[in-house]
């Protein structure tokens, strides 16, 4: 299946990357080149093969649900692009 402009627009929306329609159009051949290049995956017989999610075989360890960090509010807010009253500030989201 080849990628078209509509699919690129949808992916850009899912990824929240603002693209003009010219930029979307330019990406169509670029992405189709990549899809052509990975098409060799279709030639491999994967019948009955399990997926590999991680090369680490053991199940992730459980840990106790304890608070281990100090109150980092001030420290974290120093990296916030906008903050107010100790919270991350964003445009109004509820009318």
């Amino acid at each position: 299946m080849a990628v078209d402009e509509k699919m690129v627009a949808r992916a850009a929306k899912l990824a929240r990357i603002g693209l003009t329609s010219d930029e979307q159009a330019a990406l169509v051949p670029e992405l189709n080149n990549i899809f052509d290049w990975v098409s060799k995956l279709q030639d491999v017989d994967v019948e009955g093969v399990e997926q590999t999610i991680s090369v680490v075989q053991s199940a992730p360890a459980w840990r106790d649900d304890n608070v281990t960090a100090d109150n980092l509010q001030d420290v974290l807010m120093q990296n916030a692009p906008a903050s107010a009253h100790g919270f991350f500030a964003v445009p109004k989201v509820v009318e």
Partner: protein, 491 residues
């Protein structure tokens, strides 16, 4: 280039121990060298004050007899690893002026051992690339030049700043990260040693995630011994990384030996692909003879899914990258672009458009596409199954041998601006990607120079967790090759 900056880490430690020079002198020489090499653009952030303070602490520790394993050793850190309070960029604009309030596990280990950190090293944006040209902070220039040429060459990537800084003798060693070859390929192109340990050996806590199931952290230095020592300090269990292996850290340095008696070294026939430079093939053949001389038996083996491995890697790494990079939303840290009268969604769109470079944007979009219903089964799930077949190839090969010997990259360093399309660039990682998919330990060791005087590296790949055999064979290769070429200073 003073004598102090030319020493290996091992030699620096003996000199410091014998009081031939102080850590202050050693680190000051490197601070000066870093300053003198800014035209290479290998650093994004320099931290000379902290480096000198660590040197003074090291001198005190040597006087007290409390010095750690790396006391006073001047190192550089790839700028996708968090060091507390230092700007962290991953060579992307989207991280803005972010200063992490915490320290990555591996850099903490180095600091606890007394290392002196000279700063944060340049890389491809989010560690995606093979030439260090996609950095938002400009490309890194290799210290190497072809004989009789002034052309600027790439150091390789994505750990290009780390490779260039180690090769130019402005840091004694560096940390890199390797998702598909990003430690080993730049090490090969820059004439240094680069080691990717087994997946899970080094905690990824504090590393900027690209593709979590493939991201590895490892050392880059000028000798195999130095890489063994750095890994010994960096490795270990960390509860903050759910894939960190709870295993004791072996004494790789103490057990280093170039004797390969009884070892079987496999040569993968599929790696004799078209498009490999004949000089690389010649170095590869010669190295097989060297390892035979060191006592190893050379056997031909097969890795039938090599070709499909590259495609599987591209799909899996892009999918994981699209997911990992979704955290950059312009709200909590990093860059925010806020269109006038824009709503929350407008911030996301504008920030991520302005913050990601063209390569990162393409990879995120490709990764997003393969995770949509249209391509999920046909591409993502299929790639994960092909990954299983790639791993099975290695398992089967290791029934007939203990190690694999391959080229690291199909070519020597190429000129800045010469990278072709992104998928062509991936051919540069054709020998490193399958190992990454399987999480195996692998090292690149400089083996020869080509007719133009540029370094060529070879790769040794080991069984899971068998870093010792990889290091031992690397040492045998290093001793036989006697690689002592140096980039002539032009910067």
């Amino acid at each position: 280039m003073s004598n102090l900056t030319n020493l290996s880490i091992t030699a620096m430690l003996s000199g410091l121990g014998a009081k031939d020079f102080s850590a202050r002198e050693l680190v000051q020489a490197h601070v000066d060298a870093v300053e003198g090499a800014r035209t290479l653009n290998s650093f994004i952030t320099e931290t000379p004050e902290a480096a000198l303070a660590a040197a003074d602490a090291a001198d005190k520790a040597y006087a007290d007899g409390t010095s750690g394993k790396l006391a006073g050793i001047p190192l550089g850190i790839k700028d996708n690893l968090a060091t507390k309070g230092d700007r962290l960029t991953a060579a992307s604009n989207i991280l803005g002026e972010f200063k992490p309030p915490y320290e990555s596990f591996v850099t903490n280990q180095l600091k606890q051992a007394g290392a002196s950190i000279l700063g944060k090293l340049n890389l491809d944006e989010f560690a995606m690339g093979v030439s260090n040209e996609s950095s938002a902070f400009g490309p890194v220039v290799s210290p190497w030049r072809a004989n009789g040429s002034d052309d600027k060459l790439v150091p390789g990537g994505s750990s290009g700043g780390s490779a260039a800084a180690v090769a130019a003798r402005i840091v004694a060693g560096a940390l890199g990260t390797d998702t598909g070859g990003s430690i080993r390929q730049p090490a090969a192109l820059s004439g240094i040693v680069g080691l990717k340990p087994s997946y899970g050996r080094c905690s990824r806590w504090g590393a900027v995630a690209l593709a979590s199931s493939l991201d590895h952290i490892g050392p880059m230095a000028r000798t195999v011994e130095d890489c063994a020592l750095l890994l010994e300090v960096m490795a270990g269990f960390d509860a903050n990384d759910s894939t960190s292996l709870d295993l004791p850290v072996p004494e790789w340095t103490a057990n280093l030996s170039p004797d390969l008696k009884g070892k079987r070294v496999g040569i993968p026939s599929e790696y004799r692909a078209d498009g490999i430079n004949p000089e690389v093939v010649a170095a590869w053949d010669k190295a097989a003879d060297w390892l035979r001389d060191a006592g190893a038996e050379i056997v031909e083996i097969s890795l039938p899914h090599t070709d499909a491995a590259l495609a599987a890697y591209y799909v899996i790494s892009s999918a994981e990258a699209s997911s990992n990079l979704s955290r950059y939303d312009g709200i909590r840290f990093g860059l925010r672009v806020q269109p006038e009268n824009g709503n929350l969604d407008d911030i996301y769109y504008a920030t991520r458009k302005a913050g990601f470079g063209p390569d990162a944007r393409r990879r995120v979009l490709f990764g997003t596409l393969v995770l949509t219903a249209d391509f999920f089964e046909s591409h993502y799930v299929r790639a994960q199954k092909v990954r299983t077949l790639v791993i099975q190839d290695f398992t089967k090969a290791f029934e007939a041998c203990d190690l694999l010997l391959t080229p690291t990259a199909p070519n020597a360093a190429f000129p800045l601006g010469a990278s072709a399309s992104q998928t062509d660039a991936y051919l540069n990682d054709m020998f490193t990607i399958p190992t990454s998919l399987a999480g195996l330990p692998a090292i690149s060791v400089p083996a020869a120079t080509n007719a133009q005087g540029l370094p060529l590296g070879l790769q040794l790949i080991g069984k899971p967790l068998d870093e010792q055999s990889v290091l031992n064979a690397g040492l045998a290769l290093q001793q036989a090759a006697g690689f002592d070429a140096l980039p002539e200073r032009w910067w």
